[in-house]
């Protein structure tokens, strides 16, 4: 496997250093390329040094925060994956980040090994999701499904299988347990979740455009 090039966006220098140190024992596979302390500086640096595979992104940063930065980076550098790093599991912000195009979130006090494993999983197309985020995702999708049904054509956003998987996550099952329940491979579960993330992202864009048009912004 090729090395994974990582950039860190974090305004707390001590925490940024802590994260780099955690990953330093995996220097055979992971390069920490650079660290910037807000979204603007990060994007500026990325234009000069775009060979980054994954960004570990703080949510609360001055000038340009993590959620807006995620949306911009996903537009400018669609190949770069983004993982939110957060101290608190604030569901609303996490959901907003996913809608902006993040591939998931991790808590900042995660152990070094778990951080490493999660990075590998995300690079492999996986996307971690927790019950609360799954619950809110379902609620949100059901609400917009209803909205769409009432207005124009009614096309379901999620497939039945995807909805089923979200429901199992709400019940607190992990990917392995869901795979056993549904007689599918854990990698298939992961693929479904990644697809759900993509749909949330696209849906967010479509809605944003529709909203802008409605409000005559464009």
């Amino acid at each position: 496997m090729n090395n994974i090039n990582i950039a860190i966006a974090e305004d707390n220098f001590r925490l940024a250093r802590g994260i780099s140190e955690k990953l330093s024992s995996y220097s055979e596979t992971i390069n920490i390329c650079f660290h910037e302390s807000n979204g603007n500086l990060l994007i500026e640096h990325l234009t000069k040094e775009p060979e980054i595979d994954l960004i570990l992104m703080d949510i609360e940063m001055p000038e340009l925060g993590g959620i807006d930065t995620t949306a911009q980076v996903r537009n400018l550098f669609p190949k770069i994956k983004i993982v939110m790093l957060t101290v608190f599991d604030d569901d609303d912000k996490i959901l907003q980040s996913i809608q902006a195009g993040a591939s998931g979130y991790l808590l900042k006090d995660i152990s070094a090994q778990k951080l490493y494993e999660s990075i590998l999983m995300i690079m492999d197309g996986g996307a971690p999701m927790s019950p609360t985020v799954a619950f809110k995702t379902l609620k949100m999708i059901r609400a917009t499904d209803l909205e769409i049904k009432n207005s124009a054509e009614s096309k379901k956003v999620l497939t039945n299988r995807e909805t089923e998987i979200l429901e199992h996550i709400c019940e607190g099952l992990n990917y392995k347990q869901i795979a056993e329940q549904l007689f599918i491979a854990p990698t298939t579960v992961r693929k479904h979740i990644a697809n759900i993330y993509d749909k949330l992202h696209v849906r967010n864009k479509v809605q944003a455009i529709a909203k802008a048009q409605r409000e005559r912004l464009i």
Partner: protein, 188 residues
């Protein structure tokens, strides 16, 4: 305020872990691990407190999701005991934010006892209702305990005072086949 506490705790946990990774002494490593475990417990308590602070009145479905979240996190850490959450409620029931927090803490404490002291293989949390009451039972197949010499004493007292604060009743049964804690609160 809690942003700072959270960041500082995170820094301490990470710094301890990084020191541990460079250190070869087993004794020192064990000590570092136990301190960093306290750090993780504290930050997890802080997360729950923030959840409670922001919490509006809701219903049993919100409490169940929070409990499933706990189950999900514990599943990441250990395979055994297996945690099963069963919802046999005929409908969702209104809960104040205080009720949700107290019931969540009760379930958390119940799971913790079964994990730490009972050597249980399975913990089953069941929500069910009757005409007038909402019931939660926490049942494990561990080795049981006797109340007087129990390390669980404090935990049980906590659960009792939490449920009584909600005008509810707490009862338990424990023998060699396991422990069954039952909490009953009146429906509003």
């Amino acid at each position: 305020m809690h942003d700072n506490i959270g960041s500082n705790l995170t820094f301490i946990i990470n710094a301890l872990e990084n020191i541990g990774n460079q250190e070869n002494s087993d004794l020192l490593n064990r000590k570092i691990e136990s301190v960093s475990e306290i750090g993780r417990e504290s930050i997890s308590d802080l997360r729950d407190s923030i959840w409670a602070l922001k919490l509006d009145d809701g219903d049993t479905s919100i409490l169940l999701i929070k409990i499933n979240e706990l189950k999900f996190k514990l599943n990441e850490i250990f395979d055994e005991p297996e945690i099963v959450v069963e919802n046999r409620l005929s409908s969702t029931h209104f809960l104040t934010s205080a009720a949700m927090l107290n019931l969540y803490r009760i379930v958390q404490e119940g799971i913790q006892n079964a994990v730490k002291h009972a050597e249980a293989k399975k913990i089953k949390i069941t929500f069910f209702d009757t005409e007038s009451d909402l019931n939660i039972s926490i049942k494990d197949d561990g080795k049981g305990f006797s109340f007087d010499k129990s390390k669980m004493g404090n935990g049980l007292e906590n659960m009792k005072s939490r449920i009584e604060g909600l005008n509810g009743i707490f009862s338990f049964k424990s023998d060699n086949d396991g422990t069954n804690l039952t909490f009953v609160i009146p429906k509003k």
